[in-house]
């Protein structure tokens, strides 16, 4: 089994707010991230796939294909967007880094046919990242 990681970057804005909380609870739990005008990050995404090395091509996965799927399913939808207002799953789900990693996994997993998704890692800043392994 060989693991292959592809990296990508996207820039997006977001804010944290749960309509079921009071205004005071939202401020207390989410702090500055509750500002409804949003704020932004340069996100770094690392997608790791695993598989056996194909004896004819020497590839785990065709990188060109992986890049196309990543661009289409993730970057086109999220790069230079306001996540809460432009990415459908975040109309109802809070766009935390945890949920972003889960959402990216859910977008990619069904589209990757030649290799298995192993891990989605999302860096919100160089000091904070989330790993999602598809665990329930």
């Amino acid at each position: 089994m060989v693991y292959l990681t592809r990296k990508a970057e996207f820039a997006a804005s977001h804010y944290y707010h749960n309509p079921e909380f009071t205004a005071e609870e939202n401020r207390r739990i989410f702090g500055k991230c509750n500002n409804p005008n949003g704020h932004g990050h340069n996100y770094t995404l690392e997608v790791t796939v695993k598989g056996e090395v194909d004896t004819r091509s020497g590839f785990v996965v065709d990188l060109k294909q992986l890049k196309e799927v990543l661009n289409r399913e993730v970057l086109d939808a999220m790069d230079h967007r306001f996540l809460n207002k432009e990415v459908p799953e975040f109309f109802t789900r809070i766009p935390t880094t945890e949920n972003l990693a889960i959402s990216i996994w859910q977008r990619l997993a069904p589209k990757l046919t030649t290799a298995h998704l192993h891990r989605v890692r999302v860096y919100e800043t160089p000091d904070l990242f989330v790993d999602f392994y598809g665990e329930a």
């Binding site: 944290y16 749960n18 079921e20 909380f21 739990i29 989410f30 702090g31 789900r93 809070i94 766009p95 935390t96 880094t97 945890e98 949920n99 990693a101 889960i102 160089p126 000091d127 904070l128 990242f129 989330v130 790993d131 999602f132 392994y133 665990e135 329930a136």
Partner: protein
């Protein structure tokens, strides 16, 4: 759904690697430059990984403000700009980054209750790093 969250912190500290259980000669042979009696310092990067189910109402494994304030008060306040050989809780243990990793892991394991502790990783320099994920085998 379960996710892993990693947060990175910086602190600077000095130390001297020296074991009372060894002769002067053994200390020099074992620790080399790190045995210099005056000590030397590093900028340490500390990575803490916690895991847990993502809370549906907050979208979080744990609130970062809880992790940050715990780490600031229980770890950074204790080590940042200190000489590790003089930190009382370190006792007689040699302040290698192996021991430091296990010591920081223990502090988190005992006191941080907002998420499950997965591992502690410390970069002593850009060229070497240490990871500890619990277990008794760390100290022989």
């Amino acid at each position: 759904m379960k996710a892993h969250l990693t947060r990175r912190y910086m602190f600077s500290a000095s130390h001297r690697l020296h074991s009372d259980a060894m002769s002067e000669e053994e200390n020099k042979a074992t620790y080399g430059k790190c045995n210099n009696p005056y000590g030397h310092g590093h900028n340490y990067a500390l990575e803490i990984t916690v895991s847990g189910p993502v809370d549906e109402s907050t979208g979080m494994v744990c609130n970062l403000t809880d992790l940050d304030s715990f780490v600031e008060h229980e770890i950074l306040d204790r080590f940042h700009l200190q000489n590790l050989n003089t930190v009382p809780e370190f006792g007689q243990a040699v302040p290698t980054t192996e021991n430091l990793s296990a010591f920081i892991y223990d502090i988190l394991q005992r006191g941080f209750t907002h998420a499950h502790l997965e591992k502690v990783r410390i970069e002593e320099t850009m060229m070497n790093s240490f990871e500890y994920a619990g277990g008794n085998e760390v100290r022989r």
